[in-house]
């Protein structure tokens, strides 16, 4: 779940990171008042959960409170990547001498957190990594031991920053690492972190993503920031399909079925099992298939829940068939999922044999599940067929139909 910039900054300020004077405006009058209180030129930034604000014209500079008020009215209605703003951050405009980038995130390949630092901040870090790789450092660290400031120092020093700048940047980067770990974040980013002309270091823009599953552990912080339990805080507003999926999932405490994301393809996916969803989704695409959705099932969802999920996926415009695939399951029963998807097909007025391109869920109660699938003429396979092969069979069926 994403935090707005002003919330990220509140979190950073809580941890002693240096920030410029600012205030959150929800009205023209508030924008005027905050700019007057700051008493110098300001920057107004639309508060949306998306990048691309500058390009969309949702970041503007004002020299006077009157100008700030006028720009507030101009900025607030601007929709940035589908996101509507409800507030604008009014912040002192800072004369910048040098911009840096620092981000802390997880490296999935290394299975470790990593600090990414660059002395070329203010622009897209991926672009810097491509065009000036020597200006970007990646420093992994372990979560098994306390993280010392040495990690931050290494990350900064690797880009050639030294002397006073190195010494003054180190505590900021170190604190960002602590914030990342303490609040179960998936991303803690400052871009840019700047050295002002007067030598001070200031966080100019920040971006924080918290692991959605960790919300329960950080209720106090979320309450402090005013983030309500019903706010999903995804990168874009959920679609009707996704809202319906969440309702299916919430309808029954048993298992998971309904965490869906809509895509434009024609092959519906009822997939899951501890990372299996990602693997299977990628496998379908690798075979040239076009997924209609991403989804996650697991933890032995009830027949009704699986049935409703199947109906939801089949009800998506353009979906011709579904592929029901999981890794080898131990905590989900194959027969229960088989009942659910077949029932979902029948209740959608479809023939399970024609609709289910492949059923590949090996594991607990598979013999019972296979009896059900056989009765309804559904093609199924056991663990001797890999997830990748099963995805290939599903795609081949789609291409043949």
């Amino acid at each position: 779940m994403r935090f707005y910039e002003h919330e990220s900054k509140t979190l950073f300020a809580k941890h002693g990171m240096p920030l410029g004077k600012s205030g959150l405006a929800r009205s023209t009058e508030e924008a005027h008042g905050i700019a007057a209180e700051i008493g110098q030129p300001v920057v107004l930034k639309s508060q949306v959960l998306s990048g691309g604000r500058m390009k969309a014209g949702a970041v503007k500079f004002a020299d006077t409170p009157d100008e700030a008020a006028a720009l507030f009215d101009e900025i607030l209605p601007i929709v940035v990547n589908g996101q509507h703003a409800e507030s604008v951050l009014v912040e002192e405009k800072s004369p910048i001498a040098q911009e840096y980038y620092v981000g802390v995130t997880w490296d999935g390949r290394r299975k470790l957190p990593v600090v990414i630092f660059s002395d070329m901040g203010g622009i897209d870090i991926e672009e810097v990594a491509e065009t000036h790789p020597d200006h970007v450092s990646k420093t992994h660290f372990s979560t098994l031991f306390p993280v010392t400031p040495r990690v931050a120092k290494e990350a900064i020093g690797a880009t050639g920053v030294s002397g006073s700048d190195l010494n003054r940047l180190t505590p900021i980067v170190h604190e960002l690492i602590q914030v990342f770990l303490k609040y179960d974040l998936t991303l803690a980013e400052i871009n840019p972190l700047v050295r002002l002309e007067d030598g001070r270091f200031v966080v100019l823009d920040g971006h924080v993503d918290m692991e959605a599953e960790a919300r329960g552990s950080h209720e106090a912080l979320l309450e402090e920031l005013g983030i309500q339990p019903e706010e999903t805080r995804q990168a874009r507003p959920p679609t009707d399909f996704e809202i319906a999926g969440a309702k299916v999932d919430a309808s029954d405490h048993r298992g998971v079925a309904g965490n869906v994301v809509g895509f434009d393809g024609d092959l519906g996916l009822v997939i899951g099992a501890g990372g299996g969803s990602l693997t299977l989704f990628d496998a379908v695409r690798k075979h040239g298939g076009k997924p209609a959705n991403y989804c996650e099932i697991g933890g032995n969802p009830s027949v009704k829940k699986t049935c409703e999920l199947t109906k939801l996926v089949l009800g998506k415009p353009g979906v011709e068939k579904i592929a029901v695939m999981m890794n080898v399951v131990s905590n989900t029963r194959v027969d229960i999922v088989a009942r659910g998807v077949i029932k979902g097909c029948v209740e959608s007025g479809r023939d399970p044999a024609d609709t289910i391109a492949i059923f590949r869920i090996p594991g607990a109660w598979e013999d019972e599940g296979f009896k059900i699938l056989k009765k309804y003429g559904v093609e199924f396979c056991d663990r001797s067929v890999s997830m990748y092969q099963a995805a290939g069979r599903a795609v081949a069926k789609m291409q043949a139909s």
């Binding site: 009704k304 077949i342 019972e368």
Partner: protein
């Protein structure tokens, strides 16, 4: 009473025995039996949730409760 995959039958004597009916409701993990009324009700909407645990089969005389898999 049958669902799409599972059929459950209960001997009438058991259905009218409030104590046994209550036990059936207690043991079933997926709420197939409802003993709140005057006679035991089988919740049709839950039949297909049956996890084949056989706990209901152990209540009362042998054969009084039967669970049939309709896909066999």
């Amino acid at each position: 009473m049958s669902g799409m995959f599972i059929e459950v039958t209960v001997d009438a004597k058991i259905a009218d025995d409030r104590e046994l009916a209550k036990k059936l409701e207690e043991v079933c993990p997926v709420a197939i039996f409802d003993s709140s009324g005057e006679t035991l009700r089988i919740a049709e909407e839950n039949l297909d949730e049956c996890v084949l645990c056989d706990l209901c089969l152990e209540i009362g005389p042998k054969g009084a409760v039967q669970v049939h898999k309709l896909y066999e």
